[in-house]
Structure formats: structure tokens, C-alpha cells
């Protein structure tokens, strides 16, 4: 029995990665949920908006790197992030103007919007692959670790090491800042309040003189910023590959629905629920159990509930359970 080592192993393999992944999902789900709240459709192009924003950031990062510009111990990508956000904003405003606005004026059914967003998704995906190619891109630089496993072992004298990557630290801190700013914006500013009013009751908001086109424009801008930040953080933490962003769509939707579509707090909670379920169910618990159980009970196998290939099945299963028992989500979203 060695509970301290068990705790460190748990932190190292479950808590820290789960926290970072959860923050990325939460940021992605916030974007989906905002679009749902204001424009009232599930945006299938969200994953590829993330990819596009991340791609612009990567290109600027490379330019900065070749100019010798760097952020010291932090990744250069953080300097390039604002440019990536601008690029993504330009793209989504352009698609809104050329594609979505027509259907808004027609008051088309939500399912038409979903289908159109699928078309937009493929065009964005094509653009990203055309510009940067379908392969893996690494763009993280600066210091790699906040704490290295070996240093931690020397410091504490424990058998188990604890490694925290810089990208994981940055992810969590950025996510906290972004969420704080977003909630301040939604609750305190005039534009934010008009967005919430529009989301709660469209007709009433129109009667009080809120300009719907402005609300929609601000929503897209915020969503583009959220998507780019989420995309860049995910790319820094794992690696950038256009196809993985398409695959992220499922856990992101699951997060948004589990929390309750249209509800920002729900999106954040949903992100962490999905992330921690994925990590705990696909993690091999052998090490932690060996430390925490008496020797006689130590497990022989890996004690892995599902292989990591099925991590999407986990978010899907949670999604199905929520749809069956609580279709409005845990935090009372607006969709039934």
C-alpha cells in the first residue's frame, strides 16, 4: 500500500491530461452552444473553424520563428494567436454574409441550417488541407515542461514522477481567463446583455430595438475567437492535423448537449464531464491500483475498461444516456 504514489500516478495520468483536454473541449463546446443559443442550429463546421484558426496561427508562428521572434519560455504560437483569431473572424463573417444570412432571411428550418453548415464544413476542410496539407504539423516551441517527471522524483523521493507540460499549464490558464472574460462580457456589457436577451426571446428582443444582425455578427466574432483559441491549444497540446479536428466534433457536441445546448455554464461542465469520462475509462488502472491496494489484491491485467481506440464511443455513450433520460441536458438547455 502506498497511497501517496498512487495519488501522484493518478494526477500524472488522469487529472492533468483530463483537465487540459476538458478545458479544450469546454472552449469548443462554448462556441457550439453560443451558435445554438443565438442562431439556433448545431454548427457542424465548428471543428473546421477551429482547424482554420489554428492553421492561420501556425502559419504566423512559422513566420515569427523565421524572423527570430519568440515569447521566451512560452510557445511563439501565443504571439500569433491574435492573428489567427482575426483570420477566423474574417472567414466566419464571410461565410455568414454569403451563406447563412440568406437562410436567416428565409427563416429556413434548423435542419436546413445544419445541412448548410455541413457544406461549409467541407469547404473549410478543403481550404485547410489545400493550404497546409493533410499531414501532422508541430509548432510548439519554448520550454516543454513546467515540472519534469525526473525533477519531481528527486524533489519528493517518490517512485512515481509527475510531469506537467507547459502546454497543459497554458491550456488551463488560458481557458480560465477566456471563460472569465466571456462571462463578464455576457453579463455586464450592453452587447452581451443584448445577446442574452436575443437568445432568450427573439421577438421580445426585436421589439426592444435590438438589431439582430449586430447580435449575430458579435456572436460569430466571439465564436471564431473561442474556436481559434481551442484549436490552437489542442494543437499545441497534441499536434495539428486537419482530420483530428473533424473527429473532435463528436466530443464537442456531446459536451454541449450533456451540459444543455444553449447554456454556457453547461458547456463548460459538459466539457469536463466528457473529458474525464474519456480519460478514466480508457486509462489502464493497473499502476494506481497496485499502489493503493494490498499486495494480495493487486491486479494482474491492465484494468483498462475500454481500449483508447474507443474514446469516441465514451462520449457517444454519455450523449445517448443524456438524450434518453434528460434531453435538455444537466443544466437545462433550451433544446428538446
Amino acid at each position: 500500500m502506498d497511497l501517496l504514489n498512487a495519488l501522484v500516478a493518478l494526477t500524472n495520468f488522469v487529472l492533468v491530461p483530463g483537465l487540459a483536454y476538458g478545458s479544450q473541449l469546454a472552449l469548443g463546446a462554448l462556441g457550439v452552444t453560443l451558435i445554438y443559443g443565438i442562431l439556433r442550429f448545431s454548427n457542424f463546421a465548428h471543428g473546421d473553424t477551429m482547424a482554420f484558426g489554428a492553421m492561420v496561427t501556425i502559419l504566423i508562428t512559422w513566420a515569427f520563428q523565421s524572423m527570430g521572434l519568440s515569447a521566451g519560455v512560452l510557445p511563439t504560437a501565443l504571439l500569433a494567436l491574435p492573428f489567427g483569431i482575426l483570420g477566423a473572424i474574417a472567414l466566419v463573417l464571410l461565410t455568414d454574409r454569403t451563406v447563412y444570412r440568406f437562410y436567416r432571411e428565409q427563416k429556413a428550418k434548423p435542419v436546413i441550417f445544419v445541412m448548410v453548415s455541413l457544406g461549409v464544413m467541407f469547404m473549410m476542410n478543403g481550404i485547410v488541407r489545400f493550404i497546409i496539407g493533410p499531414g501532422d504539423q508541430r509548432f510548439a516551441d519554448g520550454e516543454r515542461f513546467i515540472i519534469k517527471a525526473r525533477t519531481f522524483k528527486q524533489m519528493t523521493g517518490l517512485n512515481e514522477g509527475l510531469a506537467i507540460k507547459t502546454t497543459q499549464g497554458i491550456t488551463v490558464i488560458t481557458a480560465i481567463i477566456v471563460v472569465a472574460v466571456l462571462f463578464w462580457f455576457l453579463n455586464k456589457t450592453r452587447t452581451g446583455k443584448s445577446m442574452r436577451a436575443y437568445s432568450d426571446n427573439e421577438d421580445l428582443a426585436l421589439l426592444s430595438g435590438i438589431n439582430p444582425e449586430r447580435v449575430v455578427m458579435y456572436t460569430w466574432m466571439i465564436v471564431a475567437a473561442l474556436a481559434t483559441i481551442a484549436g490552437v491549444l489542442y494543437g499545441l497540446d497534441k499536434s495539428f492535423k486537419p482530420f483530428t479536428y473533424f473527429q473532435l466534433l463528436l466530443p464537442i457536441f456531446a459536451s454541449a448537449i450533456v451540459g444543455g445546448l444553449g447554456n454556457p455554464i453547461g458547456a463548460i461542465a459538459g466539457g469536463f464531464i466528457i473529458a474525464f469520462s474519456e480519460v478514466t475509462i480508457t486509462y489502464a488502472w493497473k499502476k494506481v491500483l497496485t499502489y493503493s491496494l494490498p499486495d494480495s489484491l493487486a491486479p494482474d491485467g491492465l484494468v483498462q475498461l475500454l481500449s483508447t481506440d474507443y474514446k469516441f464511443a465514451v462520449s457517444f455513450a454519455i450523449l445517448i444516456v443524456v438524450l434518453l433520460f434528460k434531453p435538455t441536458g444537466l443544466f437545462k438547455g433550451k433544446a428538446v
Binding site: S42, F122, F253
Partner: protein, 440 residues
């Protein structure tokens, strides 16, 4: 020009394009009859898939983004039905695998029973959790060793539970049944909620079906692929060894090798045409029947249909299962045509999105439109790449030889498919939402 005239001409156009593919090598045509027949065969299968999607979308307004999954289940059916029986697999672990799966299903069923019959409260949660946890561990305890022993049998060639050794044609309806089962599970949970939820749920189930096919080696060998699936007809090699066949081929002025490859493809084309016509006839009859009118009434105004006493969710479930079954049949036919099962090749662009473009371009709500869209878009899907390369060569002709931009542009030409298909979908949805052959 009457409507019927115009629609007939559209079909004639597709026919001429395929004939031209065989007859001339002008521009992007290849001038090979084999290539023309390959396009025709996949075009027929695509048309069947398009009918399946059209039933769901055109008749009932259901948005299914998981066509790929149902197609892949059809492919799985071919492996499970037609590959030879492997007695060793059954004696070593096959029975236990089936038992484990039954245990898993029983666990789910008893969990559903618990939630249904026990009053809500702490007791129910506790019993439910206990059932699920015990069920899961029992399932894994039976399942894991059985899988290990099955996968150990002759892993270079088999290592899976094998099939039933039945004629491959039986796999086509079996594929439909498998797909229908999966569709029922999904429809049961996601239908009756917002329309978006069906889209998200089908997107998820498709990804998971592919993940299962890739990773469960005991089932269909995973990414090791199953090759050499049985065929419903003679092999080229046997035909070439048959003097009577060579003689008849010579009468047409063809040599044995080319004649045998053409012969096999033509037989396939005939079989697919029979299936397509049968399904088309059924879909047309369904559309004209009171049932079809009810479906369209539900699609156009759910509230009104519900007020008239129609059970909207049940009807939606019914049509969702039917449409997915058709996709499953087409998937089984495709795997038969390829005579191999390769889970790695299923991607959503080719197997979900492309079918959607076919239905939308052809004319949603019209079965003939779906068939036309299937054949036409398939032809262009094959030909967009040579066209894209031609275009890129034209664009880059003025650039310096060996420049990085030129190389990048030429290399990226293949990604233009995604972009073009997205663009076509958006343009048709915006400017001609009724498609080439609109609904009557």
C-alpha cells in the same frame, strides 16, 4: 420541351458520358471499357444508396449523417455470411464470444427493466449501477479470453470467427438487416427530439461502427482486412481457361483476358441493375401509396399530422430504419463487388457526404432524381481529379519549372474534391434547392 423530355435527356446524358468513357480517350475520358464499367457499377450502387437517403430525407425530412456506418455494416454482413466456416474458431472461443455478447445484451435489457419497473430513488440508482457493473465484468471475463483464443488461430489468414459459408447473395439482405438493427437503436433514442440530435447521433454511430470494425480483429480481422471474398459468379482465371468462352470472345473480336474482365463486370452491372430497379419500383409504390402521402404530410407539417392522429415519432423511426436498410444492402453489394472488406477505407467524405450531394443535386423527394444524382455525381467524383489536375497544370503552366508554389499547387489538386463537393452542395441548396428532377 416537356418535363419528362428534360428528365429523360438528363439520363441520356449520363449514359452518353459513360459510353464516351469507354469509347474515346478525348480530354479526361480514358477510352477503356473496363473503366467505363467500373464507373457504371459503382454508379448503380451509389444510386441505391441515394434512394435510401432520399427515402429518409425526401419523404420524411430526416437528416442522417451516418450513411458510412450503415454501408460498413453491409460490408460486415458479407464477411459474416459468405466466408467459409472456421470450425477451430467456433470450438475454441466462438461460442463464448456469442455468449458474452448475449450477456452484454442481457445486461442492457435488465438495466432498462430496472429503470422501467422500479420507482425512482436511491434504490433504483443503486440496483441500476450494480446491474451495469456486474454485467460489464461478467461480459469482459467471458469475452476477453475467448477473443484471445480466436485471434490466435492462424492469424496470418484468419484469426476471426469466420462466416457461415452461405452464398454471397444472401449477404445483401443480411446487410440490410444489420443496418436496420443499428438504425433502430439510434432512431429509438434520437428521434422525437430536435432534428439536430438525429444528425449528431448518426454522426457518432458511424464513427463508432468504423472504430469497432477497425479494432475488433475477431470479427472481421480489423485493419488486416478480409480479402478474396466469395463471388456470385465465375472468376476471370477460370473463364480464360475455358475454351468455349475464348471462342465466343473471339467472335466479338476480343482476346480472352479482356473479354473475361468485361464479362464479370457486365454480369455485376446486370445484377445491380435488377436490385436498383426493384428498389426503385418499391420506393415509387411507397411514395404513391397512402403511406407515402402520410409521410410527406408529416414532413411538411408535423403539428398538423399529429393533430390528425399520426404517430410522428413511430413513422419517423419506421422510415429511418427502411432507408438505412437500403444503405446496408448497397454497402453489402459494394463489398461483394470489391471482394474485400477494408475498414480503413471508409471515410465520411466518400460514404456520407458524397451521397448527400447526390440526393440534393438529383432532386430530394424524387426517386428518379436520386438515381440520376447517384450516377451523375459518381461520374464527376471519379473525373474531378483528372479535371482538377488538368486545371492546375493550366494554371501553373506559366510558372517557373521547379518552383515551390507550383509543386504545392499540383500536389494539392486532390484536396480540391472536398472543396468542390462542398461548393456544389451550397450552390444547389441556395439556387436550385429542388434539384435536377424536382419532387412532383
Amino acid at each position: 420541351m416537356t418535363e419528362t423530355m428534360k428528365h429523360t435527356l438528363l439520363f441520356v446524358f449520363v449514359g452518353v458520358m459513360i459510353l464516351a468513357e469507354g469509347a474515346t480517350d478525348f480530354l479526361f475520358f480514358s477510352g477503356s471499357w473496363n473503366s467505363a464499367l467500373v464507373i457504371l457499377n459503382m454508379g448503380l450502387i451509389s444510386a441505391i444508396m441515394a434512394i435510401g437517403v432520399n427515402i429518409q430525407w425526401g419523404f420524411a425530412g430526416l437528416f442522417n449523417v451516418g450513411i458510412m456506418g450503415f454501408t460498413a455494416l453491409g460490408g460486415l454482413a458479407v464477411v459474416l455470411v459468405s466466408t467459409p466456416v472456421i470450425p477451430a474458431a467456433w470450438s475454441s472461443g466462438g461460442v463464448s464470444i456469442v455468449m458474452a455478447l448475449v450477456m452484454g445484451a442481457l445486461t442492457v435489457v435488465s438495466a432498462v427493466m430496472v429503470t422501467k419497473f422500479l420507482p425512482a430513488g436511491k434504490l433504483r440508482t443503486a440496483v441500476l449501477l450494480a446491474v451495469l457493473i456486474v454485467g460489464f465484468f461478467v461480459y469482459r471475463a467471458i469475452f476477453d479470453p475467448a477473443v484471445g483464443s480466436v485471434e490466435a488461430i492462424n492469424p496470418a489468414l484468419q484469426g476471426n470467427i469466420g462466416g457461415l459459408g452461405l452464398p454471397v447473395l444472401l449477404a445483401w439482405p443480411a446487410g440490410g438487416l444489420l443496418a436496420a438493427g443499428a438504425a433502430w437503436l439510434i432512431g429509438k433514442t434520437a428521434l422525437g427530439l430536435r432534428s439536430d440530435y438525429l444528425a449528431i447521433a448518426t454522426l457518432g454511430i458511424a464513427e463508432i461502427i468504423i472504430a469497432v470494425l477497425k479494432n475488433e480483429d475477431w470479427l472481421s480481422r480489423g485493419v488486416k482486412n478480409v480479402v478474396g471474398l466469395p463471388r456470385p459468379m465465375a472468376y476471370e482465371i477460370d473463364l480464360q481457361a475455358d475454351p468455349a468462352f475464348i471462342e465466343r470472345a473471339a467472335a466479338f473480336g476480343l482476346d480472352g483476358v479482356e473479354a473475361s474482365t468485361l464479362y464479370v463486370k457486365i454480369i455485376y452491372a446486370l445484377m445491380f441493375t435488377v436490385v436498383l430497379l426493384a428498389l426503385l419500383w418499391m420506393a415509387q409504390m411507397a411514395l404513391k401509396s397512402p403511406w407515402g402521402r402520410m409521410m410527406r404530410a408529416i414532413r411538411d407539417n408535423e403539428t398538423a399530422a399529429e393533430a390528425m392522429g399520426k404517430d410522428v415519432t413511430r413513422r419517423h423511426l419506421q422510415i429511418f430504419v427502411l432507408g438505412s436498410a437500403i444503405c446496408g444492402i448497397a454497402g453489402a453489394m459494394m463489398t461483394t463487388l470489391d471482394s474485400q472488406m477494408t475498414p480503413g477505407t471508409y471515410n465520411p467524405l466518400r460514404f456520407t457526404f458524397l451521397i448527400w450531394v447526390m440526393v440534393i443535386v438529383g432532386g430530394s423527394g424524387n426517386n428518379f432524381g436520386a438515381v440520376l444524382g447517384g450516377m451523375l455525381i459518381w461520374f464527376f467524383w471519379i473525373k474531378v481529379e483528372p479535371m482538377g489536375i488538368l486545371l492546375m497544370e493550366l494554371v501553373t503552366a506559366g510558372m517557373a519549372e521547379g518552383s515551390a508554389l507550383k509543386a504545392h499547387l499540383l500536389e494539392s489538386a486532390s484536396h480540391m474534391r472536398l472543396f468542390t463537393m462542398g461548393l456544389i452542395l451550397l450552390l444547389v441548396l441556395r439556387f436550385s434547392p429542388r434539384g435536377l428532377i424536382p419532387e412532383k
